[in-house]
Symmetry: C2
Subunit: 361 residues, 2 copies
Amino acid sequence: KQSYRIAVLPGDGIGPEVMAEAIKVLGAVQEKFGFTLDYQHYDVGGIAIDNHGEPLPAATLAGCEEADAILFGSVGGPKWEGLPPEKQPERGALLPLRSHFELFCNLRPAKIHPGLESLAPLRADIAAEGFDVLCVRELTGDIYFGQPKGRSGEGEQETGFDTMKYSRAEVRRIAHIAFQAARGRRGVVTSVDKANVLATSILWREVVEEVAKEYPDVTLNHLYIDNATMQMLRYPAQFDVLLCGNLFGDILSDEAAMITGSMGLLPSASLNAKDFGLYEPAGGSAPDIAGQGIANPVAQILSAAMLLRFSLKQEAAADAIDAAVSKALSQGYLTGELLPPEQRDQAKSTSEMGDFIAKAV
Amino acid sequence: KQSYRIAVLPGDGIGPEVMAEAIKVLGAVQEKFGFTLDYQHYDVGGIAIDNHGEPLPAATLAGCEEADAILFGSVGGPKWEGLPPEKQPERGALLPLRSHFELFCNLRPAKIHPGLESLAPLRADIAAEGFDVLCVRELTGDIYFGQPKGRSGEGEQETGFDTMKYSRAEVRRIAHIAFQAARGRRGVVTSVDKANVLATSILWREVVEEVAKEYPDVTLNHLYIDNATMQMLRYPAQFDVLLCGNLFGDILSDEAAMITGSMGLLPSASLNAKDFGLYEPAGGSAPDIAGQGIANPVAQILSAAMLLRFSLKQEAAADAIDAAVSKALSQGYLTGELLPPEQRDQAKSTSEMGDFIAKAV
Ligand SMILES: CC(C)[C@H](C(=O)O)[C@@H](O)C(=O)O
Ligand SMILES: CC(C)[C@H](C(=O)O)[C@@H](O)C(=O)O
């Protein structure tokens, strides 16, 4: 019987409570699909700062190294907001994890679920056209990690600087992922850059064009980031796969998430070349609602499904979770933030959602 | 009698036809407020490429140097889209003009006009909360102009790179403009950066905090660009003045413009330290509707008003134009793109709009 080791990093805020539901659902699929998951829990983010003095303790990193995949909750909260940037829970945990494991490929699906159109902050007629995108974001390059980065000079001439950069090899590997994903979807890749200003983007566009030749069945469009941000509001239904560098992907994937109006439903995967990955909900740690049992566990549960699909290759189990979630949503089985105020009394709790989905798989 | 020299650069697409209306309206105010405007027309953008081989001919630049201000139309179109980036009409004209005249301060007001809420791509209840922001974007620094910028290496290791940078002095002068503007508005500055990742942003934030101390009456908030992009959709009414570097300002000011749903109404100003400036509509050259007499001239007319206000210090004349435009809009005197399909037969033409506004001043 196949057995896998999962590093579980619940983190802060609602992290632990939604993580419990994801593990509940994983428990249901492991029985049904005949594999075993061995969970090791580690501190990360704010709680790791409190317990060990740093957002990503060595023991956590070592635990992740021994695992087949990382299931990540969410990190951060007001308590740690005053810390210097590199010590903060989110940045101080995520960037080192991404770079250590070379998690270059960030996949963030964002869609408006049928029946949940009214949650979108978009005008009703625009939301009604539908929205279902996959953001493919490069995650280990660009201005996040480019050197040199720092400060020089004195007084009023003191200058802060960062380096944006991409090599052909880096662009090529992420572009292939976008085109392959488009084949399994609606066959359209929109590559987002700022090639009218950035040398990095000119090279990006060249390589994306080269890769596109290998996928004659996929349509490629290019958009400048400023225009992409606008098109996303005006006509979001036009997009299928969005291919972006690290910085533009950060911005655009968050815009796409907000367009759905249901951040609590959106999972993400960050993968390396060996399909090792970190899986986390797109939303934050929501400290304001933590501990009340009202947080939506769906994003965490769908992140677990992505883990099964991409790192463990347990596609059938992943499909079962996705289907169970769709069933819950289409039956109106929803947490409070997805319901109009006058229907909040029908809201399901965090654990009721988990129970329903675990039972439905 | 005071006399000013205006360099008029109509450009491509709808540029010439909306420019004609702006000049019509300027004609009305110069009579009423007792000053003279002397117009010199120059080619810019695509038409300059066709006539002189480059988007910003030397004669155009020389003409701008002799002028008190530049009134710019819009540039670009499908005909010139295949050109290499630095030769393209928009980029090839605007970036050299900004850098030559050190137009470091870009002001882009964006608001939902009362009565035009339904044009916004936002959900009705969100649009109803109102939206009225001023984007203050730094325009001569950042990754647009930072050196080094280019390529190095061979084969798959060939790398494109760009340098983001800001000095304290650069951040300080644009920050002062944002705080001063906030004083004349609702007293809130939201500074947008990515200080959890970028060294440039950490310095940016430090200087903005310093400047804020000189404006104790103004509230300062900081937002990461990814979060700002989301908040703009979720709760746009919270914003007053947005203070951004060149790249984030490019993205966010376009998002703000699109949120109004009425790009044809939005002017912009790009100023240097001597209040010399370039004034242009926020929308593009709209080649698809050029020459039909249906383009909205309001953005160009309001850009002319900004020119009077900021470069010529003819505030009363500027106020008169702003008031005339508000009158037209509030009386439902609108071009077709602002009307629902079933009311398009009531649409005013480009020149009817110009006539009405000229008469109303
Ligand atoms: C925390 C931060 C460094 C991070 C990023 O910018 O990548 C976050 O916004 C994300 O998108 O995962
Ligand atoms: C044409 C382009 C270089 C320019 C920019 O990015 O600044 C444009 O998008 C703008 O905002 O004026």
